[in-house]
Chain length 222, copies 2
Amino acid sequence: MSHILIVEDDPRIAAFLAKGFLAKGFTSAIASDDSQAMALVQESRFDLLILDLGLPDKDGLEVLAELRRQGHTLPIIILTARDDIHDKVAGLEGGANDYITKPFRFEELLARVRVQLRSTAVPVGTTADVLHVGKVSLNLHTRQAIVDGANVDLPAREFTMAELFFRHPGHIFSREQLLEQVWGYKHDPGSNVVDVYVGYLRKKFGSHLIETVRGRGYRLRT
Amino acid sequence: MSHILIVEDDPRIAAFLAKGFLAKGFTSAIASDDSQAMALVQESRFDLLILDLGLPDKDGLEVLAELRRQGHTLPIIILTARDDIHDKVAGLEGGANDYITKPFRFEELLARVRVQLRSTAVPVGTTADVLHVGKVSLNLHTRQAIVDGANVDLPAREFTMAELFFRHPGHIFSREQLLEQVWGYKHDPGSNVVDVYVGYLRKKFGSHLIETVRGRGYRLRT
DNA sequence: CCCATGAATAAGAATTTTCTCATTTCAAGG
DNA sequence: CCTTGAAATGAGAAAATTCTTATTCATGGG
């Protein structure tokens, strides 16, 4: 079943939600502030996020913005006491998928959660639009990488190489394989283009993401 | 822009909505009962449907069910006076994507419409990876065009522009729209880059595929 | 037919990407 | 520590892309 992250600082509401979801067959985790939320999203995969706007530290809208900036596409439902029309519009335009004001009926929340999960159901045989490894995301559509929340443009060759690595994290590619896959068959085997391009990617992604396996080639850290 | 079907028997509300949408750049059509609604959906393609539940003849929920049974997947937003929790749950479980109760603020409706249209934007890989128009195909993954069976590489800018045209065949894009969509907001309005790039694409695709609409912009022939 | 405006094109400057080569740095084994 | 092959890097040439400017061409109205 689906896994839901509840970002809510009031422990009573959080527990109420978690219990309700459990009864309906969903699993959940609770984050009581923004940093916990961000950490949990990084390390574990959730299908949906319930977001309270009234967090102690940072505003919930900032959490929303940060998540979207990092390229996360999971559905986010804002659940808050703020009834103001400007908040609603800001939330929805800012990347939330739904906005519910307290007090609310659990049945309605549940129905809205189901709507979101329904629309997320990806047809079989299709792939995701964004590949994530560590702190770096690769948007296959815009052909940009997102590193620490910042968009980085990748030239064609660099992107092709990055995509290959991101589609096979942990796999060791020899220089010959990379030449073949990224440059095609038509190439001078005495060239060190591969080395140079690995260097380019490291400069953009950080030097630790792609590691060299001496004598064998390169590999994307998992 | 997007095309919205408003199913609403109260002509004043319908007109209010239509006017509001128009001001925001959406086009719309109005159906005042269920049979009109069904007929319009069959004959024309809408991007979104606003559905009132209190129709004179048939219940709006039946219209919803019938549309979903026929396999229509367009987003449907229920907009109704019925505030009852059971109606809400029935609507959302019955295939609606959102449920708004009257009285409502137009800004909120608009924000929710945008949420739906945003989520309709199909990620690469979920639909065919190749768009065809006439004798030209566009491979969204390899970013090549195929013209008369021959692969033609497209540089980034050309490809982005081509993709925009291919995703909306027949639609007239003004130069400003193209600048915005392909180059982003950061641009000199006195430039004729758009003209130049249309020229580049014509050179590769053949001169007749993209036609100019004098005084208005360019359009992909269907 | 002529004019005015919009559109197309040619040419080339500026910029970015791509790739090579030479040199430096590194790592493992003796 | 030294050697040696492997890997990384710096510099820059070559090539392709991107964009501007100036000019030519086309179209529709008077």
